[in-house]
């Protein structure tokens, strides 16, 4: 039903509802690189990442989004859902394509996370979902 227009409307929420979260994707990646969960968001990787300095690549933020299972850029309830729908245009995810695979992140990570391998894992997961692959480089 087309509602009456009062000249204003309710706003969509910004709150991440953890009750709705679906962490299937994070779990898949953790199977390959379990240490990924040990990230402490120290930001060492972003600070010296060529793609972080020039573009938007921030591994810790991407990590948080995966751990919570939310595609907060798309306002979609879960990242997994975004993945299934083929709408993986999440800012953070899309920025992975700017990764040069230089390996600096891995060199500086105090938790010893093979971050470069994490990048590859995420890209591969998304690539295997063919209709999502648009824009994500093959590796």
């Amino acid at each position: 039903m087309a509602g009456k227009d009062f000249g204003f409307a309710t706003k969509a929420g910004r709150q991440i509802d953890l009750d709705q979260l679906d962490t299937t994707l994070a779990d898949k990646i953790a199977l390959a690189v379990n240490s990924w969960r040990a990230c402490i968001s120290c930001g060492s990787c972003t600070a010296t990442c060529p793609a972080g300095v020039k573009f938007h690549l921030q591994l810790p933020t991407l990590n948080r989004a995966f751990q919570l299972g939310t595609d907060f850029c798309l306002e979609l309830p879960t990242l997994n859902r975004a993945f299934q729908l083929g709408t993986a245009s999440c800012l953070e995810l899309a920025t992975l394509k700017s990764c040069l695979l230089c390996g600096k992140c891995q060199l500086v990570c105090p938790r010893g996370i093979p971050t470069r391998y994490v990048s590859i894992q995420i890209m591969q997961k998304f690539k295997s979902n063919s209709h999502v692959a648009k824009g994500i480089p093959s590796v």
Partner: protein, 350 residues
């Protein structure tokens, strides 16, 4: 050191109130304040004084960055001066916005006595008056809380569904400025406020503690003054409504004019714009103020106390309680002449 919530009790004067009205309540629910004075004077035998020279506190203007702080303080100092001139010491405030503003000003003066001196100078310069701060300052709902058992003793109705015999499920909404800024000035503090649940329980109802109970109604002053901003306001009310919906409340009670207004009117707006209603059985949830709730249990005529000025029809509630009313007279003047039902206007006025 902080206190237990149960220990948030305040001193509420026994009698002799200098009553200050709310500028907006008089427009939103014109019957509520007269009703309050009538209950105090004629049911509880208290002395209440109203000063014809009393003005708005400018709270809404102040909170919307329209009126500067010192002007607001001078206006408030003038109210205190009126009270001093009439030799009253107990201030009873109708509006939660005013109550919060007065509390804030008194607190600022406590910490900065020189500011109080400055305002005293402004007041004297502008009006020749001088003031004293109230000895006791309470919100109108505090007074009803204090006398809740006395009211229960003379009540004609209980907040009980006469068909099922069950207590009515009632949601309380406390205006943010009642206790969020100064929890010690509110009965029960701000996380588990008791001021309205005390009334509900004493009068036979059942209170509903739903997850968004403490959330702001969205009134927010500048957030509704301009039409384009009202989306912010209505979104907050919607959060509350969605959260209380599963509890299927029979009624909402609010002690703030703004909250009562928006929780009422936004239900209509949401129904029209989004097609959603939040009460049980496809109905909206009636909203009344603390005075109106007292008036209902005391057996006042619903149309005499202005319940027809609520957007959400209150008849469902009256029927549940078993209150006699003449549907014909809903839109009649005080003499009983029919003045016609409200008409839908297509262009929203402001």
């Amino acid at each position: 050191m902080s206190k237990y919530w149960k220990e948030y009790q305040k001193e509420i004067a026994e009698d002799n109130y200098f009553y200050v009205r709310s500028c907006i309540r008089q427009n939103f629910f014109p019957g509520a304040e007269n009703l309050f004075i009538d209950i105090l004077r004629n049911k509880l035998g208290k002395k209440v004084f109203e000063d014809a020279d009393h003005t708005t506190c400018t709270g809404i203007g102040y909170h919307s960055d329209i009126v500067p702080l010192e002007t607001t303080m001078t206006v408030v100092a003038r109210q205190f001066a009126l009270m001093k001139e009439k030799e009253y010491k107990n201030l009873a405030v109708s509006c939660v916005t005013s109550f919060g503003l007065y509390s804030e000003i008194l607190d600022m003066w406590k910490h900065k006595p020189e500011l109080k001196e400055k305002i005293a100078g402004y007041l004297s310069e502008a009006t020749g008056r001088s003031f004293e701060v109230p000895e006791n300052m309470v919100h109108a709902s505090d007074i009803l809380y204090k006398f809740r058992n006395e009211i229960a003793a003379i009540a004609k109705h209980k907040l009980v569904n006469r068909h099922t015999g069950e207590p009515l499920k009632i949601v309380d909404h406390i205006g943010c400025h009642y206790a969020k800024t100064f929890p010690e000035r509110g009965v029960g503090g701000s996380e588990f406020p008791q001021v309205l649940t005390g009334l509900i329980n004493a009068w036979g109802g059942q209170t509903v503690d739903y997850p968004e109970r403490r959330h702001c109604c969205g009134f927010g002053f500048r957030n509704y003054l301009v039409q384009e901003n009202r989306g912010y306001s209505i979104s907050q009310s919607k959060i509350k409504l969605e959260s209380m919906q599963p509890f299927e409340p029979d009624l909402m009670v609010a002690n703030c004019p703004g909250c009562a207004m928006f929780l009422d009117r936004w239900q209509y707006t949401l129904e029209e714009s989004e097609g959603t209603v939040y009460g049980a059985g496809g109905l909206k949830i009636p909203v009344v103020t603390h005075e109106e709730l007292a008036g209902i249990v005391l057996g006042y005529d619903p149309w005499q106390i202005g319940l027809q000025t609520h957007q959400v029809p209150v008849e469902v509630l009256l029927d549940k309680i078993g209150i006699d009313y003449d549907p014909e007279l809903k839109y009649a003047d005080l003499k009983g002449n029919l003045i016609g039902d409200p008409q839908m206007i297509n262009e929203h006025a402001c």
